[in-house]
Amino acid sequence: MAEQPTPIWDFHGGLHVDDRKAPSKASPIREAVIPKRLQLPLQQHIGRHAEPVVRAGDPVLKGQLIARASDYVSANIHAPTSGMVSEIAELPIAHPSGLPALSIMMEADGKDRWAELPEPIPDYQEADPADLRERLRWAGIVGLGGAVFPTSVKTNVTGKQVDTLIINAAECEPYITCDDRLMQEQPAQVIAGADILRHIVGASRILIGIEDNKPEAITALRETIDTRGQRDIELRIVPTKYPSGGEKQLIYLLTGVEVPSHGLPLDVGMVCQNVATAVAVAEAILQGRPLISRVVTVTGQAVAQPGNLQTLIGTPVAELIEQCGGYLPGIHKLIMGGPMMGFGLHSDSVPVAKGSNCFIAATEAESPDPVKPSPCIRCGECVKVCPAQLLPQQLYWYARARDFDKTQDHHLFDCIECGCCAYVCPAHIPLVHYYRFAKTEIWAMEREREKAEHARRRHEFREARLKRLEAERKAKLRKKKEALAKKPASGKDPKKAAIEAAMQRVAAKKAGQEAADPASENEKN
């Protein structure tokens, strides 16, 4: 395996924040208890929601398909355990909006009986990548690092040349340790999954990027790579700096290549996948299992026993917290994801979804409520930390003024919402919030514009149609008129001719009578 010191290209900006991983870092992954009721939102991924293929009252087995991908960019959902579908209804889910979403609710029967699963594909190297992708699609695998983009879509590289598969093992957000534990405890699955993904995308090498604050995971992966004797898998240790796990940042760190602004890693011949996704891929291909559970970190100062739990998708967060000893006094906030990019949950009644990597039960001291922001003094601290090399203070200014053209001039859509700017802001301005606001306003405006464009086209079409009909009508009329005007010249109108003929006949008759009776003629004269 490659042990030579490899260069690391440092990206601009970023933060050195206290990683706060200690509370859950040392705790091995344990199985979470199967909950009595599970809630499976139909939208746990990027793309179109899944369509349910079961109805209330249907019995289901563990691993059975219960909702089917409804579009190319969509994902299957499987029953995480055996039981019965109790209802399909709008229920609260883990979403920043706090709005409910259509979910399949099921009651577990506690037997945890498996449905019939597809055959494993142990000799994946011989398999057609398209077939492997089809398996990932069946398994409902999405990016488990938090982005939840369907993996079968991301690995569809048809028509593009891919040379490198990047495995994102950075786990740069504070608190989160689920990937760290996964690498320590299942390094073989991680590497196997990576190798399968490499085969699917046709890459010649694998680069694993991991932050240097995970020495145990580094050792475990290194041993596994050595055992497999694969020289084309390179483990690259990057300095701990947030957000080194950002896709574009990690690619730059490992290769010195910048993914184009508005572009994808695929544009520079790379595909990036998270370690937990790699494990899910290995399970789908080598065991024929769908994605029905994931490792979740439960941590924060307001939970009694922080840890990492192998959790069924659909488990209510409250039950997960319960299994970690419950809340401690001082519980203030519940955050899903990391503290930098995650979002606050309104309630713990929502279920664990495919993208739920971490729940932080935070005290007020560790995640204080936002203070009243001061005015921006344009000190430029945000510029120093922005990994996208933007001018956050200018973006803020224009977003606030609703000058959305200027925000786009200042590359608003290159913002990855990592939160570094807001973290360092001495005025405590919720900068990321302003950028999200500007982005959604621009999207809404674009939708409006599209609608208006559509309406305009429809209107124009209607106008054109009416004009055409009018023109046709006029043309017809004109033809008729012309025909009328032409007739007397060419051939007499039969009616007129008949009348004329009749009149001639009458005249002739009269003439005959006059000749026969001259007296009357005289009389007349």
Partner: protein, 347 residues
């Protein structure tokens, strides 16, 4: 269980505006101490007057705007403005002029534009410019440094001079006040004296005016502290001073008899103080990395131009105010290359 939610990130660094302003105030201390040493207690009285006026007007304006004045006063920005202005004023300026300048800086230059963060012009320099234009005689009547005059103004002398216009006992105004080195140089040059002759006078030290150059040195210490603490970026002070030294150097090389050396330009007047404490005001300066270099350099050039051919002996205030107007345009055209930008890949 229900929870309150807030936008990410859920962590916050420990920096705040009060701390930023507080560090700048701290960095002023060595320079202020040097000013006090060379020019006596008038410096301290000016500072007190200006701070009092600034706090008073911030309080009044915030009340008028129907807002809580306490956080605004506590962010120290108004106090900093007051200090920067007071430092730039002659140590025996009549009290009401100091108060008028400060009130103008706070009320007109800062609060009428919306308060901290919204003012297009550097408030301290706006106040200074107002006073300089309105009271040119008083504003250019500086005490001579104690190392030159041999007398340091005591507290009561300074008090009387400022509040009742009474000349200090030891020899009256004429004995104690004089032109600033820049003013001196300018007047003598206009009389067609050569630099060599002018520098014979006792008011000159190693680089610039005696005493003055040490004030500049101590402000330099404070300025370097701010750069070290990363409160200000090195770009504006460095580019301003380098540009000033370069353009002064060019003219000096061409004709050293009528153009003072670059060192004279750097260590006389407000060049050092301006470079580290005035031009770096983040609100009114350029904010992009390249923009800061351009902004600073143009201030340096303007300082030289106004000092050499303009109507005033020192030029930092006007140069900064002029460049304040240019800052938004500079920022717009000096946006950094965004990560992954294909067009500017080679930069």
């Amino acid at each position: 269980m229900e929870f309150p939610v807030a936008s990410s990130p859920h962590l916050q660094g420990d920096n705040d505006i009060q701390r930023v302003m507080g560090q700048v105030l701290l960095a002023l201390l060595p320079g202020v101490a040097a000013l006090w040493w060379y020019f006596g207690w008038g410096v301290i009285i000016n500072l007190g007057l200006a701070i009092f006026t600034a706090v008073f007007w911030e309080w009044v304006v915030m009340r008028l705007r129907g807002r809580d004045p306490r956080p605004v006063i506590a962010d120290l920005s108004g106090i900093l403005t007051a200090c920067l202005l007071a430092i730039a004023l002659p140590p025996t300026l009549p009290w009401w002029q100091t108060m008028m300048g400060t009130a103008f800086a706070i009320v007109v230059a800062k609060q009428l534009f919306g308060g901290l963060g919204y003012n297009p012009f550097n408030p301290a320099m706006a106040g200074y410019a107002l006073l300089l234009v309105s009271f040119p005689a008083d504003m250019t009547r500086w005490l001579e440094p104690s190392v030159v005059s041999g007398h340091s103004l005591g507290l009561s002398e300074a008090w009387n001079a400022i509040f009742s216009g009474v000349a200090p006992a030891a020899g009256g105004w004429d004995a104690l006040t004089g032109a600033t080195p820049l003013d001196h140089m300018r007047t003598e040059l206009s009389r067609e004296h050569l630099i060599g002759e002018i520098r014979q006078s006792a008011v000159w030290g190693d680089f610039g005016g005696r005493g003055w150059e040490w004030v500049a040195n101590w402000f330099l210490v404070g300025g370097l502290f701010l750069v070290w603490r990363k409160v200000i970026s090195w770009r504006i002070p460095a580019s301003m001073l380098v540009a000033l030294a370069l353009i002064a150097g060019i003219f000096w090389v061409i004709d050293p008899d009528i153009h003072p050396s670059p060192a004279f330009h750097l260590f006389s007047g407000a060049a050092i103080f301006g470079a580290f404490f005035i031009a770096t005001d983040p609100v009114t300066a350029s904010t992009t990395p390249r923009g800061q270099l351009i902004y600073g350099a143009l201030i340096g050039v303007l300082v030289f131009v106004i000092r050499t051919w303009g109507g005033y002996p020192d030029a930092v205030a006007f140069s900064v105010l002029l460049m304040n107007m240019a800052a938004p345009t500079i920022d717009y055209y000096t946006q950094p290359r965004v990560f992954g930008d294909q067009e500017k890949q080679d930069e």
